[in-house]
Symmetry: C2
């Protein structure tokens, strides 16, 4: 049986949740999953038990959930579709990068494999989407780059923005208007723990100060 949009969304959320696990953690907590999907905790429990029955996840009561190989394959497929569609909407259709998330969120569940392959071909088998998020390969591998955030990269050294890990439209518009999109070169001038902020020099030598929370969402390469 092919998975419903709902099931695909659960798997995707668990998949993304797993990549955010820190340290020795193995399982995505139910609360986090429910939060990510915007549903009541009890609903998540019920659904995850069903997914477990289908062999898509391993569920440990009170501890959390993780994907099986089968679940991971499906999740990677959905994420691949999402990111290819986002890039397509920006590159081919000419939409803005802060406009494409919701359309991709819907289209990822319904378009044919043929259309996805055609998009992949048109875009030349791209590796990242407009936000710099890596696109899983057709066989379900998620390429991993080790990137530093603006909170950890070296000071007074030119770095290139590689990834923006927040889909919020207002945030993306802020990034764009301040010339901080992936590909642009910037430099961290100073960090201040007390004021919880980071001071940057932008592409055009423009100086700006952003909060630490925002800075943590900007990933760069040396």
């Amino acid at each position: 049986m092919l998975p419903s949009s709902t099931v695909e969304n659960y798997l995707k959320a668990i998949y993304v949740g797993e990549t955010h696990l820190t340290g020795g953690e193995q399982l995505v907590p139910m609360g986090q999953l429910a939060g990510a999907l915007g549903i009541a905790p009890g609903t998540a429990t019920t659904m995850v038990k069903a997914l477990s029955e289908s062999g898509l996840v391993v569920y440990e009561p009170y501890n959390g959930v993780r994907l099986t190989a089968a679940g991971q394959k499906l999740a990677a497929r959905v994420l691949r579709r999402h990111r290819l569609i986002e890039l397509f909407l920006v590159q081919v259709v000419g939409m803005k990068w802060d406009e494409v998330h919701d359309d991709a969120e819907q289209m990822e569940h319904v378009v044919s494999d043929r259309l996805i392959e055609r998009i992949d071909e048109m875009l030349g088998q791209p590796e990242v989407d407009p936000h710099g998020d890596p696109i899983p390969t057709a066989d379900g591998q998620l390429p991993h780059r080790t990137l530093e955030s603006l909170l950890t990269c070296p000071l007074h050294t030119p770095v290139t923005v590689a990834r923006v890990t927040d889909q919020d439209a207002a945030f993306l518009r802020f990034i764009e208007s301040h010339n901080l999109k992936p590909g642009q070169t910037i430099e961290v001038e100073a960090r201040d723990d007390v004021s919880d902020s980071v001071r940057l020099k932008g592409a055009n030598n423009a100086l700006m100060t952003i909060g630490a929370r925002a800075a943590s969402k900007l990933l760069v390469t040396g």
Copy 2:
């Protein structure tokens, strides 16, 4: 409340059904509706009663159903989306005309107004889709051309294919392989009621014979 995909499909089927009504008929019979949607007759009855409650249709028990102004507006919107998406997938994405129906069927319910407008713009406010089916305008008007079919057009007279009223992929491939797509010029050589067939001369003077049922699906202009 925004209509579900299911509701949109019911409205679209009723809308299309209305355009097929012959003579003094006003209402789409429930059986025809259920058939078009591939659902059990009882399901159609239940759903249509609910649509009637919402003011989207007028339902006359045992007689059938028709759209209200509100229902018509929604239906035209869905049909517009469907046909714009089909044309987009052919013209921009480079899919074949026999491949796009299913994707359009799904996408019509989920893509944003912004994306549809962008598509409309990219295509230059087109009037017909790849099959020659008219695209409803943004304000819900369905342009109507009076076309003759190959069963009724004059003999031995060059005519241009304007519309193919069948979405079946095999049929569309047949049409394409015989150079009978919209825009191509052909001529009806003869009709034979006994053998239930029509004899044509194609673009390259190729002669062919097709059945009356197929011929009725090819609409032409003089």
